[in-house]
Every structure is written in C-alpha cells, then in structure tokens.
Amino acid sequence: MTGTTIAIRIAESIPAVPAVPMADVVEATSHWWAGFILWCPLISLVLCGLCAAFRVKSKLPAWITVLSLACSFTFTVILGNLEDVPERINLFEWIAVFWSDGSFVANFALYIDSLTILWMSFVTGLGTLIALYASEYMEPDLGKGYARFFAGVSVFLFAMGCLVMGDNLLMLYLGWEGVGFASYWLIGYYYRRPEAVAAAKKAFIVNRIGDLGLALAIYLIWATFGTIQYNELMTLLDEGTYATVYEHWSVEAIPYLLMLAAFGKSAQLPLYIWLPDAMEGPTPVSALIHAATMVTAGIYLIARMYPFFLLEPTSLHVVAWVGGLTALLAATIGMAQYDIKRIFAYSTVSQLGFMFLGLGVLTTYGASYHVFTHAFFKAVLFLTAGAVMHGFAGQLDLRKLSGLRRMKGWRIVAWTMFVGCICLAGFPFTSGYFSKDAILAEAFVTQGPGFEILGWIAIFTAFLTAYYTFRVWCRVCAGPVHFEPGDELHDDDHHDDGHDEGHGFHPHAPRFAINFVLVVIAAGALLASVPYFMTNEVSDIKGGWIADMVNDSTAASGIPGHAEHPGTIAHDHSGDHGHHHGSILGMDPHVAMYYISGVVGGVGLFLAFWLHLWRRQDADRLRSWLLARAWIRWLPVAMENKWYVDEVYHALVRAPLWLLGHIFHGFDRYIIDGLLVDGTARLPRLVAKWFQPLQNGMLQSYAITMAGGAALIALLMILMMQFFEGGGVQ
C-alpha cells in the first residue's frame, strides 16, 4: 500500500468532520471572556506603546502591565475552576481556505484542558510577579526604555498565551514564533551593546531552525490527517483511525519534526547554544522567559502532542537520551563558569534536559511537575541574581562577591536565593526533590535502550547540580563580606550621589517591590511540593492534582484502549503499578530514589560548602592541580570553554554557508550577470563595431552606401527571380 493511497483514504475519512462544527461555534461564544487572558497583555502592549509615544516618564507602563497580567491570571484561575468549561472557545476566524471537497481551517480559538490551565496558571502568575519585580529593577531606564521593556513583556505573555491556549497547531505556531520574537525583543533590550544584539539575533535564528521543524510537522500532520485542530486530531487518534495510518511514513516523521521544534525552543542538544547567550537581556527577562516559561514550551509541545510520540517509540528514546545528555553536558559547563547568570542559564538547560528525560521515559506527569516547580525556583534564582546585579552595578562574577547574607538589606536576597538553591539541588522534602525524583525513578522503571545507564547519568547530573548550585550560594551569599562593583554604573548614580566608580561604592539594596516578589516566589517554590501530597481524584498514583491534570489531558501517557496495539510502547505506567517494575539495587525505584537522590544531593552540597565556603583556597588548588596534569587538563579547559560547541557550529554551519553565500554572489555577478546576460548584450555591440566606419558623417558617403545597398538588393532580386524561374522551367 503506497503512502498516497493511505493519505487519501484518511483525508477521505475526514471531510465528514467539517472544520468548524456549527454547534461548537455557538456553544463557544458563551465563554468569550476567556479571550481576555490573551487580550489583557495585548491591551497592555498598546498602552505601553502609547506611553512610549507620549514619552511618559513615570512607572505607568509597569503598573499597566502588572495590572493586565494580574487580570489574565485571575481569568485563568476562574477558567480553571469552572465546572463546565467548553473544550474549544472560538474567538475569530483566522486562516480558512475552503474549496469544493475540503478546507484548511485554523481559527483563532482556545483549547481548554487541564494541561492548558496548569501551564497558563504559572505563566501568568509568575508573569505578574516578575513584572512587579521589573517595575523596580528597570527603574534606571525610566522613560522610553521602560515602556519598551514592558511592551516586550506584554508581547511575550500574549504569545505565550497563544502558544499554550491555542486550539490548533497554527495558533501554537503563532505563539511559538511570537515568544521567539518577544525573546528577541527583550534580549536585545540593551540595543547599543553589540553582544546583546548578537545574542538576540542568535536566539531568533536558532529558534527558527526549530520552527522549521514545527512548520514541517504542521504540514505533515495536515497532509496526513486533514486537520490541525487538537480535538479532531485526538479524536482521530483515539478512535483508532491511526491504525490505518500506522504504517504511513508520516507517523514516523511527525515526532521527529516536533522534536526538532521542541529542542530549539527548549534549548536542548544540539540547539541549546542560544540560551546562555540570551542572558544579555535584563534579568527579569531571563527569569521569566529564559528560565520559567518560554523555554518550557518545548515540553508543552511534546506533552500536548504525546499521542504522536507514543505511536513511534523510538522517538521517545531519542527524546530521553537527548534530554539526559543535555542535562549532563550543561551541568558540566555550568560547573566551570564564573558568571552567576550564566551558571543559572546552563542549569536551566540542564534542568530542561531532565524534563525531556521525563517525557522520554513516559512520565509526562514528572516532566510537567518539574516544569512547574522549576518555574518557581529558577525564577527565584534569576531574580536574586538580578537583585545582585542591580545592586552591585552589573557585577556577576562570583569571585568578586562574597558574604551577601551579612550585609544590611541583602538578607532577603541571600535567603531567598538559598531557598531556590535547595530546591534546585533537590534537597530532601523540597519541591525540586519530589519533581526530579519522579523523573529519575521512572528512568529505571521504563524499558528502553540503555535507560538504566541514562538513569545513572541523571543521578550523576543531580549530584553536579547540587554542587554547582551551592557553589554560587556559598561564594556569593556566605563567607566574609567582600565585593567589587561592576562597570555598569547607571547615570543617575553618577549624578545624584556624585561618587566615582569603585570609590566609595555603595551597593543599593533592593527595596520593597523586589523583596516582596522574591519572598512570594520563594514561598511558591517551597509550597510547590504541596501538590505532591494532595489527594488524587482520578488515579491513585502519587503526584496529586498535577498528576490528575496531566493525565486528564492529551499528555496522558497512554492512549486508552489502544495500549495493546503492537506498535505502542510497552510501558507500565499511567496509574496502575501492578505489573513489571524495574528496580534499583533491588528496591522499588520510587522508594530507592528518595534515598539515592537525597544522598547524592547531600554529597554535592557538602562538596560545595567545602570547596567554596570553608576552604575556598582548595578550589583554586584543585583547579591548578587539574590544569597542571596533561592527561586531565583538557577536561576543565573544555568545560570552561563550553566544550567548544559555538566554535564547532561556526565551523560546520556558519562558515560553509558564508562561503556558499560568497560563491553564489560571485556566480551571480560574474557568470549569470556578467557572462550570460551582459555577454549576450555585448554581441550586437560587437557586430556594430564592424559597421561603425560607415557612419562617418559625410552625407554623400551615406548616399553611396544607400545607392549601393539598393543596387545590391535589386541585383539579388533579379538573381533570385532568374533562379526561381529557371528552376520552374526545368
């Protein structure tokens, strides 16, 4: 059976499903207000734009943004608690092409299920808080920059809303590119700095590579299924229609294309290179977009499209391995960096790797839960780093800061950072502990190629995580008080306080807005462990309502009623723990993991305290010892140079394309234009050169030529006539 016939058959089975069932539209209009989750940030964008246009010099843009995001959050919470939320809420028609026997429809509509609500709740919630934080953080830029910043945040929230709440893949694509653009906008916020501009560009372009995957996936899904709306897709898959598709090549290709998209947006190998550079943006942006929300879009995408992945088991193996390896690689790079934000950036890449590992080993719940907890604690970490940067004139080098917790006004920062660190390190009974364990344990439970090795890699990574996290805290917040200011003295510091750079520098401690936000989000990070203990309504697995929410959505890690299909993954999760379990050291992995990761985290933490608090000189000694040994020297050097990935990219992608560009340019200029076009155009000129002498300006020579020409023609005619007549006679 060829691909075409299958595809046509599927397409034929679909026209019965009109793209927009009329009943649906009518019903959907009843919840039109849900659209305000998206419209609020949009309104805020317009108002911020007006503020910029009218040169508002106050904090008005910040308050507008905070207020509108808070409204979005409220609407999200209300929507989440409604009893009878329609699955789809149609807002307006976007792209719709109808023809005689088919249609392509992508409406601007919302798809509401528990996964949507889960994601939107922390996106809008954290968005509100971080906007509040930024209202103080961005103070030095009051005026045009301030409005520009908050407009960017609004764009981001709008796009993220479209991404998460969209009812079809094209809405997702809209959000997908939209967040990429918002990220471009905000990374390049300090547009005079070449590094910021380059980082913004890099982020957008690398993301575009991922977007290409998403675009192709959308084409392919439409070509195969004839629809790109989630509800119709899921129905088709659920009904078992996929059984006919199963051997179609597209089923194998779709997950890989989606994966490319997810890896681009969520910074996984080999497309993670943009995320560390993205730290050129203002810190609230790093916290919101490049740690808490946008980068988790890839996990969202895979969770949303999970049924496609379940149809192609190998793809999940790839996801798991890429996630695990990224986690390890990024952790090793993070260990060797000195810039606090960069460390946190690599830690984000690493944690995202954990989440993909979770998706790959069939625990969408674990991955989503880790997304949720990670959003809080990583936001705290970035925000504290931002507070430090803000207070110490851009200083982010952890060798040049020390003893923050003993300084006046910096206690809240120091201790909220501590909260973030223990969560990230997975210290027992913190939120990170539970969410990470859900993933780690599952790596040993689920069967797959080398998943056990992967599990051990992940455990090792967890150890590294604990180490490098506390390396930061011990260096920056503990120890003797000591600091050197950075080189970014704001202009207002200069003029108002009148002191020179470096001399008599007073770090300005964060004020109310920053402290308040830090405390709230830190509390959130701690409380994020609560859902784990909450009772379950749907199933009896651990994980409380987050597990319920995930299992209640398209991300449920099993297609009900089709688990016996020969192609689906042999797995034993999603609720019942009755059969086949992997084991670690002879124990139930879920139990064992509590001990193992607790111990591992403790060891890492101890190591960090030893090397970076109690005996800091040992760290330097270790480094110089390593550097002095030829056989091991490459390791720290490679780690500090980020494994030369950027350089490899340059050599493998950028340089060849650049060369190709120049070759094409030369080809265009000299071969196509020079030789073919101009060469052809030169022919008449060459011919003209021969006859040019005739054009001598002498009237009578013209006349002779003319007479001669006429005579010649006459002669020719006579000859021809004779020739033809002669021919006719004979």
């Binding site: 471009y184 390049g188 977007d211 290409l212 675009a215 959308i218 084409y219 070509a223 090549w249």
Partner: protein
C-alpha cells in the same frame, strides 16, 4: 465605466501636471492618486465578483474590428485585489517622494501617474492587445524614473532594466500572436484577442506539445518580470539605482505583473504543460529562494539586500502558484499583496535613511535606533512582516504556499505534482530570511551608533521621521497587521475565482498522480519512500 475611470484618471492627472505650474505638480499628483484610490475603493465596494468568480467593471471599445481587436476591460476578484494594491501604494509613493525629488518635478510626477495608468490597465485588461500594450508601457515611465532620478549607476541600470524585460516580453508577444493566429485558424479566419476566447481555444484545441511551447514563451516573458532564478539579475541593479518611489512601485506592483501574468495566462491556457513542467519551475523557484537568500546574507548594501530578498520571496509566490491547489493559489495571491506591502515599506524606510545619511552601506552606518526611534520601530516591524512572523501578513501567505506545496503530491492529501521535499527545502528559506534580515536590522538599527563620516559638518544631525513620513508608513503597517490577522478579506473574496482557475486541473492532476506522474515530474518528485 469604473474601469475606464481608473485607467484614464491618472492620465487626466498627467494633463493637470502639464498644465499646472511646477510647484503644484506634487499636490496634483497626490490628489489624482487619492481620487483614483477613492474610485478603486468605490469600485471594490460595488463589485459583484467577490466570492463568486464573475467578472465585474466590464467595458469594451471597438477599435480594429477587422482584426478582432476590441479593447476590453473588466476585473475578476484577483485583478481587483491587485488594482487595489496599486491604487493603495501610489498615493504613498507620491507622498514619499515629496522630499527626495527636488528638480524636474513635473516630469517625475507625470511619469508616476503614467505608470499608474499602465499598471491598472494591465490588471484590468481583458484582451491581449490592451494587456500587452499596458504591460510594455510600464517600462517607459520606469525607465525614465530610473534614468533621470536614480543614483550613481542609473544609466546602466535603466538600460538594462528596459532591454532585459523588453526582450523577455517580446517572446511572450510572439506567443500571444501565435496563439491568436492559431485561434483564428480554428475559427475560420475570425480573429479575436479576447483573453477568455483565447483561453478556451488554448485549453480545448492545443496539443500538449503546443501548450508546452506556449508555456515556455510565457515563462520567459513573465519569468523575467517576476523574476525567476536565472533571469533575475536586472532586479538588484534596477532596485539599487531606482529612486525610492521607483523601488517601491517596482517591488510592490511591477514584479506582480509577472506573477499575475503566470496566474492569468499560463495556468488557464496550458494546463497539460503546466502539470508536466510544474516541477521544473518549482525547482527554479526553490533555487531562487535559497540562492538569493544566501546572496542577501553577505550583502553590505541595504537596498541590494532587500532587492535580492524579493527574488527569494517571490520564489514562494511561484511555488504557491504551481502547487495547483486552492491553498497554494490563495497563498500566492496573498503573497503578491503582502510582498508589495512589506517590501514596499522596507524600500520607503531605506529611502528615508538614504535621504538623511546619503549612504546605504551597512558598514558605514548603524545603530540608528537611538537617534531615530520611530524609524527603527517601523523598520523592525516591516522586517518582521517580511520574515513571516505569525500575526503579520507575510506569515499567512508563506504558510499557505508551503503547506500547499507540501500536500501537492505524493504523501499529500491532495493530488499534485510537487511534494514534501519541495516544501522542506523551500522552507529553509524561512531560516535564511531570518538570518539576513535580522543581520540587517542588527547592523543598521541596533548596535553602537555609527554615522558616515564627514557629511554632517555642514548642518545639524538628521532628525527622526516627520509627520509626512509617518503618514506614509502607518497605512502600510496597519494593512500588514490587518491582513495578518484577518486574511479572509482576500481569501474569501478570491476563492471562487481561484476555484474556476483550478477546475481544469482536477482531472489532470488525478490522472497524473495515478499514473505515477509524467516523465518529468516522476524524475523530480520527492516524497514518500
């Protein structure tokens, strides 16, 4: 009546300019273009062909009846969309040249108006004679606009533009004449030049090989105009040297004459040959997309960069046409409009920059965001529209073209002769577009400020955009946004016309995909393993 008005009003405006003193030339031109725009809006509102594929605004005028030459005008929805694009861009082009053109004003505005009449004539023509006359007449005003008001290398650029495109169209003319002759042979010496009659003749009585020759001749003429890959080299030169308004009109409308020609003549007239040769044309378009994008990437001249980007972008438009399904054609029509808006706006912006700093070299100038924030905002906006950011216009058309190509063929849901591989490779253009356009923005808009040395000693530094310039840009921006969010305005209006065009392809394509394609498409088709 409306059609005659649309064609003749600009010419009346030319008379007005000749009659009025030179200082009133620009006002006269602006008023004329505004009136024409108003008339076109009125025509569009009263137009009965939206969504049902019929002709409207028809009219005819007996000329050389012995030879079947009757001047016929009329519009279907696709024509009217392009007429609206033309009449919309013209007032902006006029307004945009107020400050850049300082002498020989009457000629300048006169030529612009003449150009407008010709362009509208092309879109409204319903017989080949009027079409061809207008099609060629667009060259004359453009030639003078480039040759008189262009920059340093203008003489060469204008001559090349003229001769190159003229040579191409002559071959098309030959094809038209042959077609009319062949139709007259079939109709016992009864000559006709009406497009509808000739189309009927071509589809019903031409052999496949004859259609192939017709296709080739049409492809040469219209392909040069679009331009398609190997015959594109006149475009960067002409664009670079043309005055701002010239570039805007060139990119906005004149290039669309080529794609419109393909849509209006090639698709309906030689369906069998199109099915046979679509893969070849698609491959040329894809080469153009990638090739021009990479050339853009290493450009230092901003205007040249945008010019090459047109070559790359119009590749998508061509692909959409030859996907031969409704999405592709809709995407392609949208692409014609969207490219006109966003690239036109980019040329305006570059012109505004050039007016202030007298350079287009990205190495010499940069970081203008601080000095010219409004300009920078618009620049980023239109670059994003051009890159194809969803929510703006460029995305819709690009997406429709690509998904159409993807599904048109093996592995796709609808019969066609292209396939997934065509779309996958063409989609690389999306990445490249982001690369070159963002590099351009990164250099001239962002980064540390760099101004060309030594040209401001004589006066104060240039200011940000004035009200007039903002007025030029805002309508474009608004339309970019509206068409990005509500593209149904065009899609629904033109769907019936598109369906009519495609009606003849349904059986051909099904046949082609059942017989595993023709020799050509078989050799080239990618798709399912």
């Amino acid at each position: 009546m409306m059609s005659w008005l649309l064609i003749l009003l600009p010419l009346v405006g030319v008379l007005g300019i000749i009659a009025a003193p030179a200082r009133l030339a620009k006002v006269t031109a602006l008023l004329t273009t505004l009136v024409v725009f108003g008339v076109s809006i009125a025509a569009a509102v009263g137009f009965g062909g939206w969504g049902n594929g019929t002709m409207g605004l028809t009219g005819s005028f007996q000329w050389l009846t012995n030879y079947g030459i009757e001047i016929q005008v009329g519009a279907d929805s696709v024509s009217l969309v392009l007429v609206l694009l033309t009449t919309f861009l013209m007032p902006l082009a006029v307004l945009g040249s107020f400050s850049s053109v300082k002498d020989r004003l009457r000629e300048y505005y006169g030529w612009l108006l003449g150009l407008q009449a010709a362009m509208i004539g092309v879109f409204l023509a319903r017989d080949l004679v009027l079409f061809y006359v207008c099609f060629e007449f667009t060259l004359v005003p453009m030639f003078f606009l480039i040759a008189i008001y262009g920059s340093t290398n203008r003489a060469r650029a204008s001559v090349k533009f003229m001769i190159y495109t003229f040579t191409g169209s002559l071959i098309t003319l030959a094809a038209f004449l042959w077609l009319a002759w062949s139709a007259s042979q079939a109709a016992d010496g009864q000559w006709t030049f009406a497009i509808a009659d000739l189309t009927r003749h071509a589809t019903t009585s031409l052999a496949a090989s004859e259609q192939a020759w017709l296709l080739l001749a049409l492809l040469i003429g219209f392909g040069v105009k679009v331009p398609i890959f190997p015959v594109h080299t006149w475009l960067p030169l002409a664009h670079t040297e043309a005055p701002t308004a010239g570039s805007v009109i060139l990119a906005g409308v004149l290039l669309k004459l080529g794609t419109y020609g393909l849509y209006r003549f090639m698709l309906p007239m030689c369906p069998e040959a199109v099915v046979e040769w679509a893969p070849v044309i698609a491959i040329l378009a894809i080469i153009g997309i990638i090739y021009a994008a990479l050339i853009c990437w290493i450009q230092t001249d901003v205007k040249k960069l945008v010019a090459y980007s047109s070559v790359s972008h119009l590749g998508f438009c061509i692909l959409g046409l030859f996907a031969l399904n409704p999405m592709g054609l809709e995407g392609s029509i949208l692409y014609m409009v969207n490219h006109g808006l966003s690239t036109g706006a980019l040329f305006f912006l570059i012109g505004m920059m050039y007016e202030r700093f007298h350079t287009r070299d990205m190495r010499a100038i940069g970081g203008l965001a601080g000095r010219m924030p409004i300009w920078a905002c618009f620049m980023v906006f239109f670059v994003l529209a051009s890159v194809g950011l969803p929510g703006l216009n460029g995305f819709v058309s690009e997406f429709l073209c690509l998904i159409a190509v993807f599904t048109a063929g093996e592995g796709g849901a609808y019969p066609g002769v292209l396939g997934p591989w065509y779309a996958a490779i063409a989609a690389l253009g999306m990445i490249f577009a982001a690369m070159y356009l963002l590099i351009m923005v990164g250099k001239i808009v962002f980064g540390p400020e760099r101004l060309p040395a030594g040209n401001h000693d004589d006066g104060p530094l240039p200011k940000d955009l004035g009200v007039r310039e903002i007025v030029v840009l805002v309508p474009l921006a608004v339309l970019c946004l509206v068409l990005g969010v509500q593209p149904w305005i065009i899609i629904d209006g033109t769907s019936a016309a598109v369906a009519d065009t495609l009606a003849v392809y349904q059986p051909l394509l099904e046949q082609a995909s059942q017989q595993t394609g023709s020799a050509v498409s078989n050799a080239l088709a990618g798709g399912a393993p």
